[in-house]
């Protein structure tokens, strides 16, 4: 290479550092191809050092150089190096373990108030639905879409209702039933409840309340026929988990909605960002609960025909959830 002694300061500046930049470029492309673990110790150390040098070079070049190509190069190089230096370094296994043992239970405890609001709206719905049905059976048709009732209405005979509750031969395979239950009414409700919470809470609250209304009217119908306890067992198997999941999702949605409504001293975007931290964990917990509920509904409900056993199973699982939330992630003293 020819030795050029340039009098231009920025050209000398470039000549002195060019080798380092080229080396950084090599290291960055290596790290991008194989991940940071493909670098040796010396390379990883050099990557960090050279990156900091490149950012310094960039800020100097912006002051002293008018070479457009050089500025564009350094900008791109520093940005590329920044992206590979600040890559997430956490192993995937650690992410899962931390979520289940620490992050999720803590988030649930932190948002206990919101979840309680979710349960409150559903509880109010159940109460109103029950009382309205007892007032007049016609309310049943107002609340419950015909697709969901599946022929179970005030017109159905008591034996029909009983046969649905104790039906040992479901149509389709266990897996098919599982899938269709998962994508049934309640999952949709849970997803909407969470997503709609962003719109100032109201839709989330309303939808949960409406879900409660359906449940209340449905329950009242069976109580009227003397099947209250049997329906309780039928619902308990999966309902304890599934309805709780809706309430948890509602809690997450409410959290987001309240951040939009009352951001306090922050901007709404920042408030949403902050509320999202716990809300997303609530959504994940709700999704997990819905999955478990679908397994229970698809398999366990047909296998277990005894009323007491159904209660034990449903509420037992519920207690397990509660124990996880209450005792998980507490620091040992």
């Amino acid at each position: 290479m020819k030795e050029v002694t340039s009098t231009i300061r920025s050209a000398r500046f470039r000549a002195e550092r060019e080798a380092d930049w080229v080396r950084l470029e090599d290291l960055v492309s290596k790290a991008e191809r194989g991940g940071a673990q493909s670098l040796s110790f010396a390379e990883a150390r050099d990557l960090a050092t050279l990156y900091r040098e490149a950012t310094t070079s960039l800020s100097i070049a912006r002051e002293i150089s008018l070479d457009k190509a050089l500025l564009a190069y350094l900008d791109a190089l520093a940005a590329r190096a920044y992206l590979s230096v600040y890559a997430p370094q956490e192993p995937l296994g650690g992410v899962f373990a931390r979520f289940f043992t620490v992050a999720a239970p803590q988030a649930m405890r932190r948002s206990a108030g919101y979840i309680a609001l979710g349960f409150l709206s559903m509880g109010l719905g159940v109460l109103v639905g029950y009382l309205l049905y007892m007032d007049s059976a016609d309310w049943y048709y107002v609340f419950i879409p015909p697709g969901l009732a599946d022929g179970r209405g005030p017109d159905a005979s008591t034996s029909d209702l009983r046969s649905v509750i104790y039906d040992a031969s479901p149509e389709g395979s266990g897996l098919g039933a599982f899938a269709s239950y998962l994508f049934s009414h309640n999952t949709r409700i849970a997803i909407f409840v969470f997503g709609l919470g962003v719109f100032a809470c109201f839709p989330a609250f309303l939808l949960t309340f409406y879900n409660g209304l359906i449940l209340g009217a449905f329950y009242a119908l069976h109580v009227e026929r003397g099947l209250g306890w049997d329906l309780g067992g039928w619902l308990s198997v999966h309902g304890v988990t599934e309805l709780s999941a809706i309430c948890v999702a509602c809690g997450g949605g409410l959290q987001l909605g309240l951040a939009v409504l009352f951001p306090g001293q922050q901007s709404r975007k920042d408030a949403l960002h902050r509320a999202g931290k716990d809300a997303v964990k609530l959504a994940l917990v709700a999704a997990l609960m819905l999955l478990v509920a679908a397994i229970l509904e698809g398999f366990a409900r047909q296998l277990i025909q005894d009323r007491t056993l159904r209660y034990v199973l449903g509420w037992g699982v519920g207690c397990l959830w509660l124990a996880w939330i209450l005792f998980g992630g507490r620091r040992q003293v």
Binding site: S10, D75, S84, P88, Q89, L175, A179, G195, H273, V280
Partner: protein, 313 residues
């Protein structure tokens, strides 16, 4: 008419300024970096590629299951939807975790998720932005596709929701989705670093034969600013290789007219013979750049020939 045009121009300028500001990220080192924000079209392209990949995977599994007789025909749709969902959600999160904010589709489009506030992407942010993608687009979208006349209200609600979620990115300069806002991320184009030779260093080809050097006086260099210098730089770079005689002749003409303009502007009295054109321009570039950089060091940043000062800071 004229006012409307001026208004349009001003709006365009403002938009460009906003886009430029949006492209700046401040890393912990405190040196602002330039990462151009990826537009809605590119992201849609990446998204479609990802949907194809996960969809193909789900369909393959479904076909295998139906061939082996695990599923019956009437539960096929439900299981297919479940499979697609069960593959899609972890795919996005895990791919972006493993490849530092890139899925396969994003790799193809050369775009990347970055932390909006500088620093590294957190697991929380990636999970949140991808879960919100489900809530924003996919699940309501599925509802729109599967629901029929039975529940028109739900269909319209989902449709409105999806439309709104897709329009939100167009309302902010960072093109952030709702999920991006909550997670504190946005999507950028990956910059490509290309190191071009320094124009000031590259010596003109006939330097050895011509002993004469061009000398410019300070008052002659006082006319141009950064914009003109960098335009000249672009021209000198494009000079590298003439392809055919026609373009060669055209370039010579351009060269001659540029030199003519420069000589007139700076008052350079000596005539430059055509054989020295290249050398003259090179020498002028070197002298002008050295002079302007010198002035800049003393706090005199000239943006262009009108001697506008660069904004401070």
């Amino acid at each position: 008419m004229k006012r409307r045009q001026a208004n349009r121009l001003r709006r365009k300028e403002r938009r460009a300024a906003r886009a430029k500001a949006a492209a700046t990220i401040l890393p912990p080192e405190g040196v602002p970096l330039n990462l151009p924000v990826a537009g809605a079209g590119v992201r849609l392209g990446a998204q479609i590629a990802d949907i194809f990949i996960t969809g193909a995977f789900a369909i393959t599994l479904l076909v295998m299951m139906s061939v082996s007789g695990v599923v019956s025909a009437n539960t096929m749709v439900a299981i297919g939807a479940l499979l697609f969902f069960a593959i899609r959600v972890p795919y996005y999160v895990l791919a972006e975790l493993a490849w530092n904010g890139q899925t396969i589709g994003k790799r193809m489009m050369k775009i990347k998720v970055v932390s909006h506030f500088g620093g590294s992407l957190s697991t929380h942010a990636l999970v949140l932005r991808n879960l919100m993608k489900e809530a924003e687009v996919f699940l309501p979208g599925t509802l729109v596709l599967t629901l029929s006349h039975e529940s028109p209200i739900a269909s319209w609600l989902s449709f409105a929701w999806v439309t709104m979620a897709l329009l939100i990115p167009l309302t902010n300069p960072h093109r952030m989705r709702l999920g991006d806002m909550m997670a504190g991320t946005h999507v950028v184009h990956l910059p490509v670093p290309i190191l071009l030779a320094d124009v000031a260093q590259s010596s003109p080809p006939i330097a050895a034969t011509g002993p004469k050097t061009f000398v410019f006086l300070p008052h002659q260099l006082d006319h141009y600013g950064r914009f003109e210098l960098q335009t000249l730089e672009t021209f000198l770079r494009s000079e590298a290789a003439p392809t055919n005689p026609a373009s060669h002749r055209q370039r010579q003409e351009t060269l001659a007219s540029i030199i003519d303009r420069i000589r007139k502007k700076i008052g350079y009295a000596d005539v430059v013979p055509p054989s020295d054109h290249q050398r003259f321009l090179q020498a002028f570039y070197n002298a002008q750049r050295a002079y302007l950089e010198q002035r800049q060091l003393f706090g005199d940043k000239r943006v262009d020939k009108h001697h506008r000062q660069a904004p401070r800071g």
